[in-house]
Amino acid sequence: MSDLFHQQSPIVQIKLTEPKANQPLIREIPFQGFLNLRGRPNNPDFMTAVKKVLGCSLPIEANTVVVSGDYKIYWLGPDEWLVITPTEQQRKVQSELISALGVIFSSVVDNSSGVTIINITGDNAANLIARDCPLDLHSTVFKAGQCAQTRLAKSGAMIAPLLDGSGFELIIRRSFADYLLLWMQDALIEFEA
């Protein structure tokens, strides 16, 4: 769609540089579709309707992620999920969900401009995040398929280990993104030697 051309990432004012020495690589995956989905998991109608659209059951185990084709679904709370879609599929998935759910008690809200994805990869990916995140990021504790909403540098983030083990995916709020990237750039200094 032509209007996609007019989009600007939340970190448009940040210049990401190539990593030096032991620095991890920081990259934005911009402009994904983000749908906030709420409903009651003990309502089979809700679960079935959602499964029909997304092709998989919603994760009901706390802090887990399910991948279904192009979609990733993050558990946010006992009745709340984040559905990430490719940019161009967001409207389609949103309207399919809304129509499949009909009068079932639920809510499907587009938050695509409200967050962005930052991937941190490389040897010191965990160490960079650990500079100001109280979560245990060790691979035996925080594994691929898990996710957690936590504090990161006085802001918040959803953090999930990347499925290939190369680092972490961070989903951060737009208004905090510029600050968080400035923080990360400062944090990188520790690893430049």
Binding site: M1, S2, D3, H6, Q7, Q8, S9, P10, V12, Q13, F31, N36, R38, G39, D79, F105, S106, S107, V109, D110, N111, S112, S113, G114, V115, N127, A130, R131, D132, C133, P134, L135, D136, H138, V141, A153, K154, S155, R173, R174, S175, F176, D178, Y179, L180, L182, W183, D186, A187, I189, E190, A193
Partner: protein, 1002 residues
């Protein structure tokens, strides 16, 4: 190199790497591997400072964290460090150190006169003397501060970088001596995630100063092998030069790692320190023990050192702290010091032992070496000025309470003292375990753990190496097992040593008449003597915590590490009670001082001190010269000055342009919450004070939210998108609080309601287009909406298209003008803003910031929650009781509105104020009085909450909260200002512009 006290062989120093350093302006040399203290001693320097009250000469006492005397200022300017302990400062090339507490110089200190008049400076002297007259304290304080105090605070900003990191582990071990290493090996070999923390440059602790054997090999070899093995274990992290200084709840420990302090200034790269926040499943404390000095008359002269420190200087640093030494002890361990000195070629004049007999293997080795052992004896006094010259010895009674016989003078330049050992129970105590007095060993040992924690080795009172290793291995195994690892490491082996028991000796008796004896110091850093403790007890201070604060015992940078237990022993004796009954003062973090830099980390400066939230149009605002204002964490454009404009000029221009043509405001920061579900309207009925059931779809309504106390908490406009779907605006600063409050009510009180909330604050970019030409501007870029006044009335919401993008337009006004809020997803925020600027160009569309927004709304009397309210203001106080339903059965805060104080009619109420002089702007926050000439205290009747110059009205306007204000229209109040002026103002309705409301109704 001079270093004339350097022993020719041995030690762990690097003899090939000589370093220069400067002390009090004079240059010396030392070797790599030295501490600043060992390097000074190698140069024969003992006297390093003056005590802070009496300015007595003081020397190096210890070789570790407990040092009370050798406290230096290191370096100058941006690298300066006040109060560094020379015993823990690793020597580096060109180190610059100077003494604190001496003026004008260390050798010639004018304030040493205090020592001569010390009888007039008892405990509590400052409290007693300088409090009268009270008004003079500020003057006294100035002089006292000059005379005392330790290092100097830096005068320029610290140029260093400080790192932070969080970690979790299975087993955290504090203390990397042989016990800590053993526990680490046990847990580490089992595969547990282990963090081993040690404050020294190399692991090994006290064993680095000894010739013990473990598993048949010299202890230094065993240490080397243990460290090498730990380094190879992937889940083990070693943190040398790191002090575990705080043990908090839930096994959370704070650890400060010194990364570069050991390097020459020009070789330092990267962060100076790193603060580790570590949460551990299990903690093993292997923090060792500290030796206590003995408290006898004149026990503070340079040349008097802890016996274990003497051994450390001899064995680890190859430095002879003296040529002629006397050992004074009440236990076995100092005998080793006699042997160490003897082996180093120093003359050991005698071992003075308070105990009637000493017959252990160690004591007999000393006798075999030809050293005189004087049992049942005590050092009762010493002589010397800037260095010890001799000690006086007398016979001591078997109960330690009196001395008798002739004074025998032993000439010496070193007195090595040992009053027994105190386990370092600081971390265990901080963790919540109350230290327990062990009468037999005469020491406080760690109490029963209250967290997942164990103490081992000397830290647990187990001074003997063999037993210490067993304890450590057991604790390491147990900690790993508790984390699910199979761990059965056998303890390393060491030979058993049998010692004679200690004879507790808290205060060495004097042969002088009570009250006439020379000072015997307990706390060297704070100049607290035994007589001060006795005086405090006589004056009624019986709790050890009170005695501490009255005498200052245990304050200062060393926190009484050497002196406290002796002081408690003396207090117990004075009060005729046991030490167990006396107890200890509370051990609090931090174990040793921590730099502010370490605590601050990189949370500094305008970028990183606090998150700065930015809107999608932030870049545009910057490029167009906006000044920014902090609103909560948001950066909002404040005003957009053109060249040469003051804020006043810019705001006047922005106001007039908006009222006369069109202005544009970035309103993206408003909180936005989607509310969905069949009970949404009912839910809003509870949250807001007004009615929501009958609001038509596509229409918006303004509402107040109250706290349970009936006070205004937040306000905003909420739109009905569908029967079961609303879109709520909150204040910019209140968004997070409103969302969590609403979620809490839904989850805890009204779970039966079918309502879901979703925050979309960050998703939408919002531009408020305001002014008579706003309709033309918005309709020019937005298709699919009939913008006519009839089809799109005030407080309506419509969906249209900007290009191919779906947009939402809300006809809402916070200015009294015709106005539209245009919303697009924030990824398109800048695109939308630029489209509006382009469309508005022919109307000279003027971007405006929060200052103009405030003026425009104040002209109309619209309130800002948090500015015109402060949590104690009701809707009625604001004169807006029309917004509170009289018919609803319930809403949050309703019950509180009928409380007598909330319901009374003469509360502080919102009014307008017009100053007598149109150009005088009342300061916000100014207090208002009825009669500025009244006798003080002048009764205050209210305060100014909002105040501006209004270019549209041509005079200043203000809003104020005035007692019974609504009944006082037309009356006069006065604002007496700090600069002496008194501004006169008339109370009016809070409405100054377009009083009929015609401008928004077009």
């Amino acid at each position: 190199m001079s270093q004339s006290f350097r022993i020719a062989q041995g030690g762990r120093i690097d003899r090939d790497n000589q370093l220069k350093f400067s002390f009090n302006g004079k240059t010396y040399t030392g070797q790599a591997g030295d501490t600043l203290a060992s390097a000074l001693l190698a140069n024969g320097i003992h006297m390093v400072g003056r005590s802070w009250k009496y300015h007595r000469p003081r020397g190096i006492l210890s070789a570790g964290a407990e040092e009370p005397n050798a406290i230096f200022q290191l370096e100058k300017g941006e690298k300066t460090i006040p109060n560094a302990r020379a015993t823990q400062v690793e020597l580096y090339d060109d180190l610059d150190a100077s003494s604190v507490n001496c003026w004008p110089s260390l050798d010639f200190d004018l304030l040493s006169i205090n020592s001569k008049v010390s009888r007039m400076l008892p405990a509590g002297f400052y409290y007693k003397t300088f409090m009268w007259p009270k008004s003079m304290w500020m003057k006294y304080e100035h002089i006292i501060r000059k005379a005392s105090g330790l290092g100097k605070s830096p005068e320029v900003n610290d140029s260093d970088r400080y790192e932070h990191s969080h970690r979790h582990c299975d087993v955290l071990i504090a203390g990397g001596g042989v016990a800590g290493l053993t526990a680490a090996l046990a847990a580490g070999r089992a595969g547990a995630r282990v963090i081993l923390v040690d404050e020294q440059s190399e692991f090994g602790g006290m064993a680095l100063s000894s010739y013990d054997k473990i598993d048949g090999q010299p202890v230094s070899d065993w240490i080397q092998a243990a460290v090498a093995e730990l380094q190879e274990l992937p889940e083990v992290m070693l943190l040398p030069r790191s002090t575990a200084y705080g043990y908090h709840d839930y096994n959370f420990l704070t650890i400060n790692q010194r990364l570069t302090d050991h390097l020459a200034l020009n070789n330092r790269k990267g962060g100076r320190e790193k603060l580790w926040h570590i949460r551990a499943h299990q903690v093993v404390l292997a923090t060792g023990a500290m030796e206590r000095p003995l408290v006898h008359s004149n026990n503070d002269r340079p040349g008097i050192m802890l016996a274990s420190a003497v051994s450390t200087y001899v064995n680890r640093y190859a430095v002879k702290p003296g040529e002629r030494a006397v050992i004074f002890t009440n236990n076995d361990s100092a005998y080793q010091t006699a042997l160490d000195l003897n082996a180093a070629g120093a003359q050991v004049v005698a071992v003075v032992d308070a105990r009637s007999q000493s017959s252990s293997e160690l004591a007999n080795m000393v006798r075999s070496a030809g050293i005189e052992v004087m049992n049942s004896c005590a050092v009762v006094d010493t002589s010397g000025g800037k260095r010890l010259q001799s000690v006086q010895v007398m016979s001591l009674s078997s109960d330690g309470q009196s001395v008798s016989g002739q004074r025998r003078t032993l000439s010496c330049d070193l007195l090595a003292v040992s009053g027994g050992w105190s386990p370092v129970v600081h971390l265990s105590s901080q963790s919540g375990a109350k230290a327990v007095w062990n009468e037999e060993a005469a020491m406080f040992i760690p109490g029963e753990p209250v967290q997942q924690q164990a103490s081992v080795g000397s830290a647990n009172g187990t001074l003997e190496l063999k037993l210490s290793l067993i304890e450590a291995a057991n604790a390491g195994n147990a900690a790993a097992k508790a984390c699910g690892f199979d761990s059965n490491m056998k303890a390393p082996q060491s030979d058993a040593v049998i010692s004679d028991p200690i004879m507790p000796l808290w205060l060495v008796p004097s042969d002088k008449e009570k009250g006439r004896e020379p000072k015997a110091f307990i706390d060297l850093q704070n100049d607290v003597g035994s007589a001060d403790i006795e005086l405090a007890a006589r004056e009624g201070f019986h709790s050890v915590e009170h005695v501490k604060r009255y005498t200052a015992m245990g304050f200062g940078t060393d926190q009484g590490k050497t002196g406290n237990i002796n002081g408690m022993g003396i207090l117990a004796k004075t009060l005729n009670q046991t030490i167990a009954e006396t107890g200890t003062t509370t051990y609090r973090p931090n174990y040793t001082p921590v730099t502010f830099g370490s605590m601050a980390g990189q949370n500094l400066g305008s970028r990183l001190f606090d998150p700065a939230r930015k809107t999608a149009m932030h870049g545009w605002h910057e490029e167009n010269g906006a000044e920014f204002e902090d609103v909560g964490q948001w950066k909002r454009p404040w005003y957009y000055p053109k060249a040469g404009e003051t804020i006043h000029d810019a705001v006047n221009r922005e106001c007039l342009a908006t009222r006369n043509s069109v202005g544009i405001l970035d309103a993206s920061t408003l909180g936005k919450i989607e509310i969905k579900g069949k009970d949404s309207a009912q839910f809003l009925e509870m949250m807001y004070t007004n009615n929501w059931m009958k609001l038509p779809v596509g229409m918006a309504r303004y509402g107040f939210m109250l706290g349970e106390d009936g006070m205004v908490m937040d306000d905003g406009v909420t739109i009905r998108l569908a029967e079961d779907h609303f879109y709520m605006h909150t204040t910019s600063g209140g968004a997070a609080g409103v969302l969590s409050s609403m979620e809490r009510w839904l989850q805890t009180e009204w779970p039966e309601m079918e309502v879901f909330l979703t925050s979309v604050t960050d998703h939408w970019a919002t531009a408020a287009v305001v002014g008579p030409n706003s309709r033309k501007v918005v309709s020019a870029i937005c298709e699919g909406i009939d913008f006519s006044a009839e089809a799109f009335p005030f407080m309506a919401s419509r969906v249209g298209k900007i290009g191919e993008l779906e947009c939402r337009i809300n006809r809402i006004s916070f200015s009294g003008e015709l106005a539209y809020e245009v919303n697009l997803p924030a990824n398109y925020g800048r695109f939308m803003w630029e489209k509006l600027m382009e469309a508005g160009a022919k109307y000279d569309i003027t971007p405006y910031g929060t200052e103009t927004m405030h003026v425009l709304r104040a002209e109309k009397g619209y309130v800002i929650v948090g500015q015109d309210t402060d949590g104690s203001i009701t809707v009625d106080d604001l004169g807006m009781s029309w917004a509170v339903s009289k018919t609803k059965v319930d809403f949050l805060g309703k019950r509180s509105l009928t409380r007598p104080d909330t319901a009374r009619t003469d509360r502080k109420q919102l009014v307008g104020l017009l100053t007598e002089e149109p150009d005088s702007v009342l300061p916000e926050g100014a207090q208002l009085v009825n009669d500025p000439g009244a006798a003080t205290p002048v009764p205050m009747v209210g305060h100014v909450s909002s105040s501006y110059y209004s270019a549209c009205c041509g005079h200043s306007i203000a809003m104020a909260l005035v007692k019974d204000g609504r009944r006082r229209m037309g009356e006069t109040v006065y604002a007496p200002l700090a600069d002496g002026r008194v501004l006169k103002a008339t109370i009016t309705q809070p409405l100054f512009y377009d009083k009929e409301g015609a401008k928004s109704n077009v």
